[in-house]
Subunit: 102 residues, 2 copies
């Protein structure tokens, strides 16, 4: 729970938007054939929606992952990203604790 990294990762509107999109799998095209069971979304789908370059999105997902907001799972040539609700909640608890008076 690195609050520094977490805040840096959140300090960008597109990265926050991606986290919101990932709340609901149906914000993206249907899962690839043979991966219907997977919760995650591949980089290409995220890129398509965000309309930024592939390298930028890959970088963004790396930052979100380092901050703990997402987990990744590689399946074949694809990397599937999904939210890490536990870490997200841990961050919220930490920032709340840091900001509020006892």
């Amino acid at each position: 729970m690195d609050i520094e990294k977490s805040l840096a990762a959140l300090n960008n509107p597109v990265r926050r938007q991606i986290l919101e999109w990932l709340k609901d799998r149906s914000n993206f095209p249907p899962a690839l054939p043979g991966h219907e069971d997977l919760e995650g979304v591949c980089v290409g789908y995220i890129q398509e929606k965000a309309k930024l370059s592939q390298s930028t999105i890959s970088n963004y997902m790396g930052l979100l992952k380092q901050a703990g907001f997402v987990r990744s799972e590689r399946h074949g040539q694809w990397t599937f990203y999904r939210r890490d609700e536990e870490n997200i909640n841990a961050f919220l608890a930490a920032i709340q604790n840091e900001l509020t008076k006892p």
Copy 2:
């Protein structure tokens, strides 16, 4: 409640530290004579503790104020800053709402 400005303001360890210090007036030297009733802390006291230049701290306090985390009150030649608990809580509610799944 500009979440963009708020996250930018929080994206700096010294600014977060200042917000923490301001939780408790006793983190600073006693109030100036004639201002004992005031909740706030003057810029000079904050600068002393943060060990950064006067202009940097003035800038920081401006950012924290723009983000809504502090209010300022001018009394004579001093500007007294104190936390705005209401806005801080509003930010926490907003970020929680943005980050958590429904």
